[in-house]
């Protein structure tokens, strides 16, 4: 009796892990394929099946992309752009989230839901007005023009952090207030230390999203001095001849920083999903 039950659990377990493994394989496959193809000779990229191992492997595509295109510059510009937006978002989203989640002022909820409603408007609708505003401010083709629209927090980020703050028991805050702490102290000494996981999640998501943005940089920047990596890769896909060996090498290069960021923060991300306020 017992033994069959044990068997059944084992069988269930195995099936579950098999399903998870398959899911993981589907998720990781495109990245491995990119890397594999980027290591092939240009003439073999298209003539061999994507899964055929790159043998003989070559770093020629990477060398070519690195020397012929300003890849180092593109990556640096993307790093400045995504870094600045991430810092801005974490700082301002936290403040706004605390105000919306924990402080009371007239019209708080109306303001919050109104702000959240702007998520419903497709970016393409506000694109031209935003472009015109930036032109009036003389910020076309500058880092400021790139960064400003998203640096002061986004509805998504504020909503994410606010929901998390609301799970932190009020008693903790009340205790701090009784000890004479002001709002600022409560936020920095009590709430934020408990919110590390969600802040890490927000930082990661913001960095990755900003890193991968194409439309706004395309419209607001013109020259090579502030050209980000997505635009650099997009330009490689000429209308007439897509040089896939170079595109894949460039894409593999653009992927690396994201992998690093994810590895740094992955522990926190898992925790932010798994745990709430108190242990």
């Amino acid at each position: 009796m017992k033994r069959t039950q044990l068997k059944r659990t084992q069988l269930k377990r195995s099936a579950l892990y098999l399903a998870l493994l398959m899911g993981a394989a589907v998720a990781v496959a495109p990245y491995l394929m990119t890397l594999n193809s980027a290591l092939k000779e240009p003439s073999r990229v298209l003539t061999t099946p994507a899964w055929e191992p790159a043998f003989p492997a070559t770093l020629g595509n990477f060398a070519k992309v690195w020397s012929e295109y300003d890849m180092a510059g593109f990556l640096l510009h993307s790093l400045v752009y995504a870094g600045a937006v991430t810092i801005g978002q974490v700082v301002f989203s936290t403040m706004a989230a605390y105000a919306f989640g924990r402080m009371s002022f007239p019209g708080r909820d109306a303001l919050f839901w109104g702000y959240l409603a702007t998520m419903m408007v497709p970016q393409i609708v506000t694109l031209v007005p935003l472009f015109l505003i930036m032109r009036e401010l003389g910020l076309i083709d500058t880092y400021l023009g790139l960064i400003l629209p998203t640096a002061f927090g986004t509805p998504y980020g504020i909503f994410l952090v606010r929901q998390y703050f609301r799970t932190i028991p009020r008693d903790l805050e009340s205790a701090a207030r009784i000890d004479g702490g002001g709002t600022w102290t409560v936020l920095t000494r009590v709430v934020l230390p408990l919110s590390r996981p969600i802040l890490a999640t927000l930082a990661t998501i913001t960095f990755i999203t900003t890193w991968n943005t194409l439309l706004w940089p395309l419209i607001i920047t013109n020259g090579d001095a502030v050209r980000v990596v997505t635009l650099g890769i997009s330009a490689l896909k000429g209308q007439y001849s897509s040089q896939y060996h170079l595109i894949l090498a460039a894409a593999a290069l653009a992927l690396l920083p994201l992998v690093v960021i994810f590895l740094l923060f992955q522990r926190h991300i898992v925790r932010s999903i798994a745990l709430t306020g108190l242990k």
Binding site: I219, G238, Q239, Y240, Y244
Partner: protein
């Protein structure tokens, strides 16, 4: 769109700087990565000759290019000089965003006789000139040398083929020889399995028709429009037959790569299809030469003429121009740059790099020589340009036509709509969009 002030050009000497005495930076926009290096090199020389002008190249891919340019035009901050295409030009001309070059040409006595009149004419409207020819392209039959050899054919066997709407003619006969199933049986052999084809004879892909049925239409005596700037007439029998023929190549004769693979915008480009050995030949434009050169091993491809149809031979013939933004703050310097870009010196340098056929006809041999040195005979494109040709349709309804054509023809190639219904539908909708 706000009415834009057309900036009057100021007078002629090239040395005295008309701006604030400092250095002027011009923005020059383009979309082809392949052409950038030779152009950049030539522009450095231009800067040496004009110390008061700096040129900043802004390169984005085809799709990005047009969305960006149109946003910039709304924001009145477009590049000073940019590449223009026939499908966008009518709209731009109407909106007044292009500088009329006619007075400048007259004032500097620029000799425009070197450009092929067939290229230059389309850019003139009511005596105004909206651009000078930068390059040209025609459609040819790219072939894989290996696939021909395996079928026991020589490149010469691809010359002089003919097609007709009833049995497909020698064109389909030859494509049958080049179509192989998984058991190695060819389409003209008994036991061939059309459900398990490994290599097709032909690959086609065209979002508008430029690389496929427009050519068959011309070879079948069909006119896409009643006149330039006129109404669409693709529901005429001669046009419907051409559309039907493209569908037949896929669904009746089984000699062309199925639409599930090639339908734009998501299908792989044809250099890849041929490179992977999934097709022996492909109908494509001369701008794809460098792509085929990359996708296939050295000496692995060539270009043959398109087949002839019931009324003879013919190809779509199109070209780009260099244009000046009417809102430029530096009209004089922009004109100097445009003169350089459309000069013999500059176009020769670009042709030598094998990038594109040059706008100035006398330089065609320079481009052909560059490819001959690589072992590829590209003179077929030139023959096509000198023969019966059809320009890109000039119409104010290009946007509507392009969107509808992409969607509806994809359905025809999949066998989900008849050629007659598709032609009528697109014709009605495109004509409705003409004001």
């Amino acid at each position: 769109m706000a009415a834009l002030l057309t900036v009057a050009a100021c007078g002629g000497g090239s040395d005295d700087s008309g701006s604030s005495g400092g250095v002027v930076t011009l923005r020059y926009a383009m979309w082809d990565e392949v052409q950038k290096p030779p152009i950049e090199q030539s522009i450095r020389e231009f800067e040496k000759a004009h110390p008061n002008i700096k040129v900043q190249i802004e390169l984005n891919s085809w799709n990005d290019y047009w969305s960006k340019l149109q946003t910039q035009l709304v924001g009145r901050s477009a590049p000073d000089v940019f590449w223009d295409h026939v499908s966008y030009f009518p709209k731009f001309g109407k909106e007044g965003v292009l500088t009329d070059l006619a007075p400048l040409i007259a004032q500097d006595k620029v000799d425009t006789s070197g450009y092929d009149p067939k290229l230059a004419e389309g850019w003139k409207v009511d005596g105004k000139v909206y651009g000078l020819p930068k390059d040209w392209d025609t459609i040819g039959l790219f072939y894989s040398a290996k696939a021909l050899k395996d079928a026991g054919l020589t490149p010469a066997d691809l010359d002089g083929l003919t097609w007709n709407p009833t049995d497909g003619g020698t064109f389909v006969k030859t494509l049958r020889k080049l179509t192989v199933d998984e058991n190695g049986k060819r389409a003209d052999e008994p036991g061939f399995d059309p459900g398990k084809v490994k290599q097709y004879g032909l690959a086609m892909q065209a979002p508008t028709g430029q690389q496929d049925w427009w050519n068959f239409a011309l070879q079948n005596g069909c006119e896409l429009q009643d006149k330039p700037w006129g109404r669409w007439t693709i529901d005429q029998p001669a046009c419907v037959q051409a559309i039907q023929f493209v569908q037949d190549l896929r669904l009746k004769y089984h000699v062309a790569v199925p639409a599930t693979v090639t339908n734009p915008p998501n299908g792989p480009s044809l250099d890849q299809v041929v490179g992977r050995g999934e097709a022996a030949t492909a109908m494509d434009g001369s701008w794809m030469l460098r792509a085929f050169d990359t996708a296939l091993p050295d000496g692995g491809f060539g270009v043959a003429d398109l087949p002839a149809g019931p009324v003879g031979r013919g190809s779509v013939y199109n070209g780009l121009t260099e244009a000046i933004y009417s809102g430029t703050k530096h009209p004089k310097e922009a004109w100097e740059l445009l003169k350089w870009l459309t000069s013999e010196k500059h176009q020769k340098a670009v042709a030598q790099a094998g990038a594109v056929w040059p706008g100035i006809s006398s330089l065609n041999d320079v481009f052909a020589e560059a490819w001959k040195a690589k072992g590829v005979d590209v003179t077929g494109f030139k023959k096509a340009a000198e023969g019966t040709t059809m320009g890109y349709p000039l119409t104010e309804a290009a946007d509507t036509y392009n969107v509808k054509a992409l969607d509806i023809f994809n359905q025809v190639w999949l066998g989900q709509m008849t050629a007659q219904d598709a032609a009528k539908k697109i014709n009605d909708e495109a004509n409705a969009a003409i004001k």
